[in-house]
Amino acid sequence: MTNHSRPGPGPRRDYRFPAVVRLGLANGLRVVVAPMPRLPLVTVLALVDAGATCDGPSNEGVASLTAQALGEGTARLEATELTDQFEALGSGFDAGGDWDGTLASLTVTPSRLETAVMLLGEVLMTPRFSERDVLRIRAERLADLLQQQVEPRGLAEDRFAEYLYVPGSRYGVPCDGSARTVGALETETVKAFHRARYVPQVTTLIFVGDVAPEPAVRLAERALGAWMGEALVAAPVDDRVRGGGPRVHIVGKPDAPQTELRVGHRGLSRAHPDYFSIAVMNALLGGLFSSRINLNLRERHAFTYGAKSAFEWRRGAGPFVVATAVKTDVTAAAAREILAEIDTMRLETVTAGELSLATDYLDGVFPIRYETTHAVAQALAAAEVFALGEDYYSLYRERIRAVTAEDVHRVAEQHLHPREIVIVAVGDASAIQGPLEALGVGPVEVHGVKQGEEDVP
């Protein structure tokens, strides 16, 4: 009926990542402007080098709490007044912290940009941090953590990190803190964190959209030119892992119809020179829908709705992790398939056809990733956080295309570590413990859902 032959592509059309202008104010604040005048919108994003790795021992979660409390008023405006002023501009104010930085952003039409940036400057320099608001935000985070006892995905992710990294590593505690650490945070801790860490020398103000560089810089100067403060030197994060060979941790969730499975080990720093080869290798292993792990677990075995692998890129060595949720009775079989795919990736060179699946995808999808002002602003923030260099986004596609099958093989051998595998399975312990032991990966420990219910050696 439809016997049209399969068409090939037409000639590729040029794409250029938006041109970027980078300037500095006298107080050390950096301003990055990328005009993208397609629609009447501007995203303004403030990046402060005050992520969770700056929390300090026993204050895990303070960076995140500080970021969330930023929107709760300024010295001049109460929380509800500040919200009203932002929302009258047609924009919410969103702020949050991740491992390596805090981002605060809003998106407005150009006529509202000036008011928006002046408000953003006020928030960064003189946040209110009233006792009541900080404690309320803290209680909301504690509510999230309570919910997590019955939410298997978040639980699996947090426990994987806890069992992977050495005790005392910031990476072993959730980015937003744990119930123990968040419960102990005080308003004064938040204020002290802001005083010490929110300074112009480690702040970048990024404008993307219907805006020109000169007016943007003038606006940044008006909003934040008077801001003062000295930057602290941040200590590098302790990203060592517990080691000691492969291990299996079961987090018991009686009667769970499914097991949330995490399989992985320590990954690499974002600064690692093999980044592009690893991106291609991981796309083939478990990054794409058509990757080996997803096709194996979903389309061949029907164990799951989906499976993914990822290197979590941070300044320190974040985890490499395969994540999936599988029917309880195939938990061990799914773990075995994942381990087999990791082994195969290390043992055999990928074919040219498979290589081009990843390189063509990563190359082709590049412009699609940066359709919106917000996506471009986030990309520019990542370039600042990881010091990727001014030409990073203009060279990205070329670098992906340069990755060879030999590169993929080499990085799989060097950076996938079957002998250091940690498996975390959140599910029905009575049903999955035996099969996971029979898998013979390593010692199996069973834990409770509540933190500290069992000793973790």
Binding site: L39, L41, D84, G90, D360
Partner: protein, 426 residues
């Protein structure tokens, strides 16, 4: 901001919308089939969604697992989704890859059945059962997606039953069901196709005619049971669910004006006044001032037939009981009924909705999806360009008229989740 819109219809009934934009070398292809879980027959809940999975399993000229691979090799992103009253399939590709995207969509619209096998059906049935475990059974409050429609629509109504389907019904689905569903609903006259982004209209039209032109028109689909419902429930329906959750959570639904109708915009603004972002009434009162809720929001389902639902969704703080959560939330609804909304509240809501709309329109995929939505429901994708004006025209009086008629005690359905382990609530 005006989105360019050009439409034409093929002789087989396929309505095609073209929307050019050359600011980036990206093109979105988007198909809506006017079929959803509402069209499932008795004993086959979940079939429309299972069928959506089957559309990624290859077609006459596309091998198993090849559909995803071809789009990803082209540098594109793709997916599909099933809703109560429609199913969509979409991909965004580098603009020079438009031909393969259209060819893939035409091959599965024209010739899906030659590629269907029992083994593929069995595999996807298990994948969907795992999806059900993942999204409904092993997630706190995951059953709200099926409990709320079941509570809000009468048993014989097409929106009453579960979209993801019961395990039992999924087990019953057969290859004959696949063939019948395909022949009945996956026809060009029951679909709309939108192309948005960087393309030449002449070339695009030529490609569409070449690939879709010879697919035969369908024989028509069976009429749905009566969709119309009274504009109010006529009562306050209540369901309390004891579940494996740590905090009480309330879903409070009101029958509401259907998507795109004259009163819809006032209803949508009412939802934003109540529960869009931190400046909304519910967030301000329940989260910030009284500290009884950890989270509060409100939204509409955007159903275009029968009746829409406006839904308030509030989760308790750890020390707050389900009874208190419900009383405080209802108290805010009643306060709104007595006080009415102010022009400032309406202005805030419209400003937020308008920015969200423009932000979404940056993406070719979003533009294509909205155009397909208006083409499917109203036969006119140009309506996308009237949305901002329709919102701007909403007045406080109109919102108050909606509040008065739709938020009363005779038009409520509450679904209240209570922790089974009662010690979690004091």
């Amino acid at each position: 901001m005006q989105i360019p819109v050009e439409t034409f219809r093929l002789p087989n009934g396929l309505l095609v919308t073209l929307s050019e934009d050359h600011s980036a070398p990206i093109t979105a292809v988007n198909l809506w089939y006017h079929v959803g879980s509402a069209n499932e027959r008795t004993g086959r809940t979940g079939f429309a969604h299972l069928f959506e999975h089957m559309l990624f399993q290859g077609s006459e000229n596309v091998r198993e697992n090849e559909h995803f691979e071809l789009v990803q090799r082209a540098g594109g992103t793709l997916n599909g989704s099933t809703w109560l009253d429609r199913t969509n399939y979409f991909e965004t590709v580098p603009s020079n890859q438009l031909p393969i995207a259209l060819w893939l969509e035409s091959d599965r619209m024209g010739a899906l059945l030659p590629a269907m096998t029992q083994q593929k059906l069995d595999t996807q049935r298990d994948v969907v059962k795992n999806e059900r475990r993942w999204s409904v059974e092993n997630q706190p409050y995951g059953t709200w997606w099926e409990r709320l429609p079941a509570l809000a629509f009468p048993p014989e109504h097409p929106f009453h039953h579960s979209l993801i389907g019961s395990m039992e019904d999924l087990g019953q689905a057969s290859l004959e069901d696949v063939a019948l569903f395909f022949r009945t609903f996956y026809t060009p006259d029951n679909a709309v196709l939108t192309i948005a982004g960087d393309f030449s209209p002449l070339e695009a039209r030529e490609l569409v005619e070449r690939y879709f032109g010879d697919i035969p028109r369908g024989a028509g689909k069976p009429p749905l049971p009566r969709m119309d419902l009274p504009s109010r429930f006529g009562e306050w329906r209540r369901e309390v669910v004891e579940d494996e959750v740590m905090l009480p959570r309330l879903f409070l639904a009101f029958r509401s004006a259907v998507f795109g109708s004259a009163r819809y915009y006032a209803a949508s603004v009412c939802g934003a006044v109540l529960g869009m972002r931190k400046g909304s009434r519910l967030h301000r009162a329940l989260v910030r001032e009284r500290e009884v809720a950890a989270d509060a929001r409100a939204f509409t389902f955007d159903l275009s037939e029968g009746s829409d639902l406006l839904i308030v969704d509030v989760t308790a703080r750890p020390d707050v009981s389900a009874e208190r959560l419900e009383a405080e939330t209802v108290g805010e609804i009643d306060r709104l009924r007595h006080e009415g909304v102010t022009a400032a509240e309406v202005g805030r809501a419209i400003a937020l909705i308008e920015t969200d709309f423009i932000v979404a329109m940056q993406s070719a995929g979003e533009r294509a999806d909205r155009l397909s939505q208006f083409a499917t429901y109203f036969g006119d994708p140009r309506l996308v360009n009237t949305q901002v004006a329709s919102y701007r025209a909403v007045t406080a009086d109109q919102v108050n008229a909606f509040v008065h008629s739709n938020l009363g005690e005779d038009n409520r359905a509450s679904l209240l989740y209570v922790p089974r382990n009662a010690e979690a609530t004091a």
